[in-house]
């Protein structure tokens, strides 16, 4: 491949893969069964220059390849703002970039939650996934093996069908190293939605690049909670794999999660810490609310149903609040067939697909104070789109949107609940 026998496009992709192998000290490459590509989000001309070079050199993917969000909601292109020249440039470049990745043979999934689609990888399967939340979900919840690949590498792995045998592709690197005992949080808290973005943010902050092991999560904790946990831990830290004892596939016991070795550190997680984590993630905590954004990572069908259930009865959303839900186009289509979408939209919620409300200009410039149920959104939006942010559960988001001001329910953190 390197020598150009498969074409110059494959040779370029292989130079990148071999370069990465050298950086990561890989003894060899490993064949992969799927790829998830994040390089389709427009970050400036370099994004397009790279894709165009690969297209121009005749490259195409060798394994099934899903695409992460792009810069444009292709189903509702008017949603992305085009008032400034930079916004117009991103819109035009983003659209061209999304086309280029389709030309390379990728599937038009446009979601940051490829694990919500059929055909997801099985335990032990080697894959090359990009997008930090997808990486941590594939490794932790599915037990598939992917290292944390950056932009450019993802498409090069898809084109060559190979990735360096290094990092989390190897058994040893998957050992849990830092233990978080969540039992002091109690059953009621651990049954709440908010527990998981908060835990994820906290765990990521303390674990850094280590593999955290969570003890005490309920055995029936759902995939949406694990999605929120992983996304938050990958944003506040560099977490690409966590183990939840009795929950995730490589952690039937604490000993197995630790590969039989002693942990480097152990922490206890308490309710006051969780309360402080909400305060840390929020840049305001009361008063006027301009917008709500939920669905980062993309809302699952179950999360759309939950939102519809909360919106179905009760007061309308306040005039001064714009409410956004981000999801994948496949989930949106399912919600449309079941009628869930109509409930959400008729309540005044704008459903965004193919992209996300904090990677591109969707929110009105007047939206200064925004509530979200996502620790990842709360972590990045202030820097990305310059808004003040407050973290709340979906229920708190809906309640606050109705009132037009922030309404938080701190009873969640009261000890007697534990």
């Amino acid at each position: 491949m390197l020598a150009g026998a498969y074409g110059e496009g494959v040779a370029l992709a292989m130079r990148v893969i071999v370069g990465l192998g050298r950086i990561s000290g890989a003894p060899r490459l490993v064949e992969i069964t799927s790829a998830h590509v994040d390089s389709c989000l427009y970050h400036g001309r370099v994004s397009l220059d790279f894709a165009d070079r690969l297209v121009g050199l005749g490259a195409s993917v060798r394994v099934p390849t899903t695409l992460n969000v792009g810069s444009v909601d292709l189903l509702h292109p008017g949603l992305v703002r085009s008032e400034t020249s930079q916004q117009r440039q991103t819109l035009a470049g983003g659209r061209r970039l999304m086309s280029a990745y389709l030309e390379l043979g990728c599937t038009a999934t446009w979601t940051c939650a490829p694990y919500q689609l059929p055909g997801r990888p099985a335990l032990g399967e080697h894959v090359a996934w990009a997008e930090s939340n997808a990486v941590v979900f594939a490794n932790s919840v599915l037990g598939a093996r992917t290292d944390r690949y950056g932009d450019f590498v993802d498409i090069c792995a898809a084109i060559t069908g190979r990735a360096p045998y290094a990092g989390l592709q190897t058994e040893d690197a998957r050992r849990g190293t830092v233990v978080f005992d969540c039992r002091p949080l109690g059953h009621a808290f651990l049954a709440s939605e908010l527990a998981y973005p908060l835990l994820g943010h906290h765990v990521g902050s303390l674990a850094g690049a280590e593999n955290p092991v969570l003890v005490g999560l309920p055995g029936d904790v759902g995939e949406d909670s694990l999605k929120a946990l992983g996304a938050a831990a990958a944003s506040s830290g560099e977490v690409a794999l966590f183990h939840a004892v009795g929950v995730t596939p490589e952690a039937p016991t604490l000993e197995r999660a630790l590969h039989g070795l002693a942990p480097l550190r152990a922490h206890e997680v308490t309710l006051p810490t969780m309360r402080a984590t909400r305060a840390e993630l929020s840049t305001f905590g009361s008063g006027r609310l301009d917008a709500v954004s939920i669905g980062t990572p993309h809302a699952s069908y179950a999360e759309c149903e939950t939102l519809a259930g909360l919106l179905r009865d009760g007061r309308p959303i306040h005039d001064g609040v714009a409410f956004y839900l981000s999801t994948g186009r496949a989930t949106r289509a399912r919600a449309e067939r079941s009628g869930v979408l109509q409930v959400i939209e008729s309540a005044g919620v704008t459903v965004v697909v193919d992209t996300c409300t904090y990677v591109t200009s969707i929110l009105s410039p007047a939206a200064r104070r925004v509530m979200t149920n996502s620790a990842k959104w709360a972590h990045y939006a202030p820097g990305n789109i310059d808004v003040a942010v407050v973290l709340g559960s979906t229920r708190e988001c809906v309640e606050s949107a109705r009132l037009g001001r922030v309404a938080l329910d701190d009873a969640l953190f009261a000890e007697e609940l534990g």
């Binding site: 990465l20 000290g25 994040d38 930090s132 560099e238």
Partner: protein, 133 residues
């Protein structure tokens, strides 16, 4: 003074050093002029363009490769980055910028304890095999 380093991406670069006391995500953490905009980052507000950035590692989203590569293209990137451990997301940006534009931003790893001894605010020259100040 001179210290040996392992090159992840080649080339030579020179600038005044700046030490980051926490890992940085270029995506979401820096703007198009190379300024740190992550409100949680201790060096928020610092401009990295043209500096030799000394930090343990990058952090967070895998989109950072593109953001840094675009900063290299527009000359808003650091002159060089000195890590304490290999970070492929940071290094890939430099590898791709070299493939596409022939521009070099050396990315090197200096093992601890030498990494901690690199001072801030001094002129540092990085080439593909050594860091000197």
């Amino acid at each position: 003074m001179r210290v040996a380093a392992r090159a992840l991406a080649g080339g030579a670069g020179e600038g005044v050093s700046i030490r980051l006391s926490a890992p940085l995500s270029f995506w979401g953490g820096t703007d198009s002029r190379g300024r740190i905009v992550d409100a949680h980052h201790p060096q928020c507000g610092a401009v990295l363009a043209g500096r030799v950035v000394v930090m343990e590692s990058g952090r967070g989203s895998s989109s950072s490769s593109s953001v840094l590569a675009e900063q290299i293209r527009t000359k808003a990137a650091p002159a060089a980055i000195v890590l304490a451990r290999p970070d492929a997301i940071v290094a890939l940006a430099a590898i791709v910028a070299r493939e596409l534009y022939g521009l070099d931003v050396p990315i090197v790893v200096v093992a601890t304890p030498h990494h901690e001894q690199i001072p801030a605010g001094v002129l540092v020259r990085v080439d593909s095999t050594a860091v000197m100040w």
